[in-house]
């Protein structure tokens, strides 16, 4: 593994890592070789894990996304894979542009070298509000905020985004899901994990989660790969 000399903490996120891999291996961003990219990406994840680095969940989600594209491309009808690949390429190009713009903007940085003044306080400055508004403005604003939010109990932005974007399901959430099922020592049929899960990214995440847990020795598969049990902690 010595040939991979990643500076592991320098990547801003999975997209940053992917762009690094693409340029390092001279892949064409407009027609990415998914197999090669996935291989390199997983190598990175492994290296990070060996060094006990905490990786953000987004890195694993991206792994799931790449695995999905690769798996789907092996199917007889690879249109789905093509579309997913194009989406990924679009995301990468957009991010590369943002990075280029950020680099250029940075050249203009002069910090806070120009000083300004605080406003002078006039004696009567704290004056009562004098404009008039229709009460409808309050109702409109209420609607803008949203009824759920108004009760102060929403659902962070993040959750809303997930709902509206149908994002990739996180592997970590599936890891948690599986561990919960196995908590009391029962064994669970692998197939049952997929019951009622029709969303593809959720299925991929489940698959990766099982892989991850078996690899790290947290759970064990029986010989037929059909049943899961949790590994008892052994004294070392």
């Amino acid at each position: 593994m010595n040939e991979i000399q990643f500076k592991l903490d320098v990547f801003e996120g999975p997209l940053d890592l992917l762009l690094h891999l693409i340029s390092k291996h001279q892949l064409n961003i407009h027609d990415i070789e998914i197999t090669k990219l996935l291989e390199q990406y997983l190598l990175y994840i492994d290296t990070a894990r060996q060094q006990n680095l905490e990786l953000a969940g987004e890195f694993l989600e991206m792994a799931a996304r790449l695995v999905y594209i690769k798996a789907a491309s092996l199917l007889p009808k690879p249109e789905e894979a093509e579309k997913a690949k194009r989406d990924l390429q679009g995301t990468l190009i957009e991010y590369a542009l943002a990075q280029a713009a950020a680099r250029q903007l940075r050249e203009h940085f002069i910090a806070d070298d120009i000083f300004i003044r605080k406003p002078v306080r006039l004696p009567r400055q704290q004056q009562a509000y004098r404009l008039r508004h229709s009460p409808d403005r309050l109702a409109e604003t209420f609607v803008q905020i949203g009824r759920e939010r108004m009760k102060g109990q929403l659902l962070s932005d993040k959750i809303t985004d997930t709902v509206t974007q149908a994002r990739t399901v996180s592997v970590i959430s599936k890891v948690v899901f599986i561990l919960r099922k196995l908590w009391n020592g029962d064994s669970v049929a692998v197939a049952s994990l997929y019951e009622g899960v029709s969303d593809r990214s959720a299925r991929v995440a489940t698959f990766l989660a099982v892989l991850e847990l078996t690899r790290s020795g947290r759970i064990r598969l029986n010989e037929e790969n059909t049943m899961l049990t949790i590994c008892q902690k052994k004294g070392r």
Binding site: F115, I116, R117, K118, V120, L122, Q125, Q126, Q127, A128, Y129, R130, L131, R132, H133, S134, P135, D136, R137, L138, A139, E140, T141, F142, V143, Q144, I145, R147, R149, M150, K151, G152, Q153, L154, S156, D157
Partner: protein
């Protein structure tokens, strides 16, 4: 060549940026000169302001110096500042005010939870504008200060009482009602 920055310009920079009065010793230290030279340096600056067509002047207070505008410019400044007060409420302020209006009394913490961002300074500015006011402490953990709307708030929005607050989108109410009941079936 005026490449070299003069002491009086350096003093001007310090006084301008500080806003408040600056002690003689502080100026002296920054310029790297003895304290007693400061008044001479400031005098040069003062003279420039007097000769040039400038609106600024130096105020000497006790052992400190401050930059200000000449007295005779007060009216034009006031006119310019008055127009600023006519600025309508920002979206953030309108939103904060709406949250207070429909939930009063509410704490700053509650408002922050609803908006998803610290809104403390917005609440303060609503209080300054007379649209919101403190309403004692609320009986929730931590006993934070509660805020409510004022009579001025009612006048600004042409309301006679809080009961007249408009009902947001009554049309959608029924669906939301049914939707909510099922969502609440979560074991606590």
């Amino acid at each position: 060549m005026p490449e070299e920055k003069s002491f009086s310009a350096m003093a001007e920079a310090i006084l301008f940026a500080a806003g408040e009065p600056v002690e003689t010793s502080r100026i002296a230290q920054a310029l790297g000169v003895p304290d007693r030279e400061v008044s001479g340096i400031v005098a040069q600056l003062e003279q420039r302001y007097a000769e040039a067509d400038s609106a600024l002047q130096i105020l000497h207070l006790e052992n400190a110096w401050q930059l200000g505008t000449k007295q005779e410019f007060a009216p034009v400044i006031r006119t310019a500042m008055e127009t600023r007060r006519m600025q309508p409420l920002s979206n953030a302020a309108m939103e904060t005010l709406t949250i207070i209006a429909y939930n009063q009394p509410v704490s700053k913490g509650f408002i922050e939870r609803v908006r998803g961002i610290d809104s403390s300074s917005i609440v303060n500015s609503l209080v300054d504008k007379g649209l919101a006011e403190e309403a004692g402490r609320i009986d929730v953990p931590g006993h934070p200060i509660g805020y409510r709307t004022t009579d001025l708030f009612l006048r600004v929005f042409g309301l006679h009482s809080l009961e007249e607050l408009p009902d947001p989108h009554p049309a959608e109410q029924s669906e939301i009602f049914t939707g909510e009941l099922t969502e609440q079936d979560v074991p606590s």
